[in-house]
């Protein structure tokens, strides 16, 4: 399975993401720059975290309107797996590839800590390596991770199993509605989540709880 990482000015988790994809798959991902209008033939496209365009206007708002995101949207339409982590999740929402919005944390504080995540839907291309309801550890680091959707949208995504990860055991760090940490699109090939699975993939990280997401998406897990 081949992967690509989207690069935008102001992202700062791209190296972690490239390292994780390289270590899990055995080969490095290709990288695509914000002005690229075509993305090579890959199975998985990842938008990493950071502060694209300094979070100006709204987190992810400017990045979502760059040429590369039209190419990402086209690949998503073709069924290619797309994964956005942290700022990448914000970008996918701003691009309209996922429903809802991410707002300032209710604490108004930047949170950088480990949380517990419940795998609310293990039947996705990104979570097959986990058991339904499994609780994993994962780091978060963000200021705007407070997921919001109107009542109608929320009922729809809850009803269709589009909530993939929830903060568990009282560790919701940002006030997200229904403890939502990550969601998938209705078709099931675009995932966005605030936590950073790329930072928990090997023993040196203190655990491998995040590895399953990459193993699932890269077809390494059954």
């Amino acid at each position: 399975m081949k992967s690509a990482v989207v690069l935008l000015p102001g992202l700062n988790r791209d190296r972690d993401m490239i390292a994780a994809l390289t270590k899990v798959s055995g080969s490095p991902p290709v990288t695509v720059w914000q002005t690229d209008t075509e993305i090579p033939d890959v199975d998985l496209i990842v938008i990493p975290g950071g502060f694209s365009y300094g979070d100006y206007l709204r987190c992810g708002a400017i990045a979502a309107r760059m040429p590369v995101m039209r190419a990402v949207a086209e690949k998503a339409r073709q069924g290619v797996m797309v994964m956005g982590v942290c700022n990448g999740f914000q970008i996918l929402l701003e691009a309209g590839l996922l429903p809802g919005a991410l707002m300032r944390n209710t604490s108004l504080k930047f949170v950088c800590r480990e949380v517990k995540l419940e795998v609310a839907n293990a039947n996705t291309p990104f979570t097959r390596a986990y058991r339904p309801g499994q609780v994993i550890r994962c780091p978060v680091a963000h200021h705007d991770g407070n997921y919001f959707a109107d009542a109608e949208t929320l009922a729809r995504i809850e009803g269709q199993g589009q909530v993939v990860f929830r903060y568990a055991e009282g560790t919701n760090p940002n006030g997200s509605i229904n403890d939502i940490a990550g969601i998938i699109d209705a078709r099931g090939n675009v995932l966005g989540l605030m936590p950073h699975p790329e930072n928990l993939i090997e023993a040196a990280h203190g655990g491998v709880d995040g590895r399953g997401m990459f193993e699932s998406a890269l077809g390494i897990a059954a």
Binding site: L57, R65, F148, A149
Partner: protein
């Protein structure tokens, strides 16, 4: 030249943690009788041309495509001189 002011505000029912913090700070300063405070954004935009109808249509498109996130925000457009 047409000057316009675009005001972007959070929709009703959307939690505004920053507005809440400002509300608390106003109370701490001793201002009494302050109800809810909601924080928004203002954009002053200059446009070439003199056709107000075209300006309004362009500004609306700018709001829908970039300046506002209509999932959580409303906007209003005021044309100046």
């Amino acid at each position: 030249m047409i000057k316009a002011r675009i005001t972007v505000t959070l929709k009703n029912g959307v939690l505004d943690p920053q507005g809440k913090a400002i509300e608390g700070a106003l109370g701490a300063l001793g201002f009494e009788g302050v109800g809810h405070v909601r924080q928004g954004k203002v954009f002053d935009v200059e446009l070439e041309g003199s056709d107000p109808a075209k300006a309004e249509a362009d500004l609306k498109a700018m709001c829908d495509k970039l300046l506002a996130n209509t999932v959580i925000e409303n906007y209003s457009i005021a044309l100046g001189s």
